[in-house]
Amino acid sequence: MSVYRSHVLVCAGAGCVSSGCVLTENALVDEITTLGLDKEIKVIETGCIGTCDLGPVVLVYPDGVFYSKVAPEDAREIVREHLYKGRVVQRLLYKDPLSSQLVQTYGEMEFFNRQLRIALRNTGVINPEILEEYIARDGYEALARVLTEMSPQDVINAIKASGLRGRGGGGFSTGLKWQFTHDAPGAQKYVVCNADEGDPGAFMDRSILEGDPHSIIEAMAIAAYAVGAEQGYVYVRAEYPLAVRRLQQAIEQAKSYGFLGQGIFGSEFSFDLSIRVGAGAFVCGEETALLASIEGRRGEPKPRPPFPAVKGLWGMPTLINNVETYANICPIILHGAEWYSRIGTEKSKGTKVFAVAGNINNTGLVEVPMGVTLRQLVFGVCGGIPNGRTFKAAQTGGPSGGCLTEKHLDQSMDYDNLVALGSMMGSGGLIVMDDSTCMVDIARFFLDFTQDESCGKCTPCRIGTKRMLEILERITGGEGRDGDIEALERLARNIKQTSLCGLGQSAPNPVLSTLEHFRDEYQAHIRDKRCPAGVCQSLVSFRILADKCRGCGLCARVCPTAAISGKPRETYVIARNDCVKCGACMDKCPFGAVIRA
């Protein structure tokens, strides 16, 4: 095997693919070949590195130099200057948003050095299409040890002792779930991986499947051995074509090496794995609906119990876990439950991957120990709020969760504490909002999503969320009435108590949580017909401040509806009825005289 002196990693996660990493990679390879360096330097496509707004991202090893937003035209300079002559290309380095300093290596970036990568250990490090790279990083060692040295009960005990809890949202003990499935009587058993990932904004499951597919195959084989299954399914949404392709390819590789199939590692154990592609309904991520969908039926939930562990696919005991849950299994086997349980908090062990989005400097995927504070996550790892604005709130748990506010910044991010604060971990989506956000509008946005995704099987969810959405639309539309807040609260309570599945039971959460923390914003909309953040179109109006207006007339010239009138060097005025609230006048005014309120 040839030895290279340098590895150039090009992130090929879906985010970087859309920012054009393929062209960048080709340009790098071409330039390396032109200089005759192709025997010394290897270009490697990896899965998501995590800094999704900085793509295309290029990482140069062994020094670990991190280049962001690398265009194909930059390839020549990187190769000639850095790879050939050892001079780092300063202009492509990442600039720390807080200190404005250039950061030389990725190990010095706050974004990376505060992370602890267990589930993402290989994502962004290996080429996911090359099985040998996975093996070089201890791949399939855990499965080999399990099959040659451990009984199924030993495996279950290890997972129990690790304290691992489900990363798909519920946070149920993974070891206990394995035990229940193991103990349930059944001629056939199944293991399933939930890769439906319906929470808008969350993409850790996709990144793991794209960047480290073998880790899921290996973990599912271990799970199957532990519970006594011989067949597994990965349920992936059709919107993830790259994940499906890489997983399919990995399954074929695993089969040809004998990591899947009959008598794995010379043992009695056989395991086969197939992919089921879902059409991407949010409710199909709910486990009973997901299993129905695998069986070829309509993706609708069923009342539990019976739980899938007892009566799942085709009526047989079925273990269902989330992608990120599985991604933690091999490290637990390799390094021990004790090691794992030292990470995190008393009741939430290990790490959690957060998908951070919204008004934040570093968006992307970060994996941190459970129990970090919201402040560490937002202002430490993710570099704080851009554009000189201030932090207002963060939504956790996606459309089923709630918001945390400034007073929660020093709270621990773990399962139980988030529930205690009226939110939840969910799948780890974290949407950061600055002071330009209207919280009533946010609640409306999430409810619009859940209302749309309600499968319609049960009445409270189907009709109740519709009524709630109507009220929210009325409030943000400037037609709010006395009693609307109380009606929302009453509906929310009833829907939560009477819905069939988690979708309806959690759909009102964003409304309840914003009502709790930002009730005054609701009241301003309803009583004063005013949107304090200036977001709700029907409630905002533009005004020109007399003391700031110099009468230059620029506003009147850019107004598309000729709603602004005045004479030069006198104060201009906006005619409310003609104004379409496009904001062009405010953007153009050189004196900051136009305000939105």
Binding site: M1, G86, E133, I135, Y140, F259, G266
Partner: protein, 118 residues
């Protein structure tokens, strides 16, 4: 793949594939690759270090390059960093590189007659 031993043999074979991307090395070998260094044969020196470290499976050592350090008359210049300790070697040919690996990197003894000061 029929046994854990077979997996481990394969892993030894492919280990090099990802080693470059792991952890922070204890010892850094830095080869000056300015125009002056390249003209004096630094590229061959660099590749010799890479080859030797890999072939002898030496752990915790990285080989990188730097630009010109201003000692152009004594190129190829090679700096060995071991924690706070820095040793600068002058006129490092591939043969010298091999001896530096054996005596300094593996043996822990610097080679006094090739050391230079800046």
């Amino acid at each position: 793949m029929k046994s854990i031993e077979e997996l481990r043999r394969l892993r030894e074979e492919v280990r090099q594939m990802t080693k470059l991307r792991e952890g922070s090395p204890e010892i850094k070998i830095i080869v000056g690759m300015g125009t002056c260094g390249i003209a004096a044969g630094a590229r061959e020196t660099l590749n010799t270090f890479v080859q030797e470290v890999a072939e002898q499976s030496i752990e915790g050592v990285s080989v990188t390059q730097s630009g010109c350090v201003g000692l152009c008359d004594r190129e190829p210049i090679v700096e060995v960093q071991h924690g706070a300790e820095r040793t600068i070697y002058a006129r490092v040919t591939p043969e010298r590189a091999r001896r530096i690996v054996t005596e300094h990197i593996k043996g822990g003894r610097t080679i006094a007659e090739w050391i230079t000061r800046n």
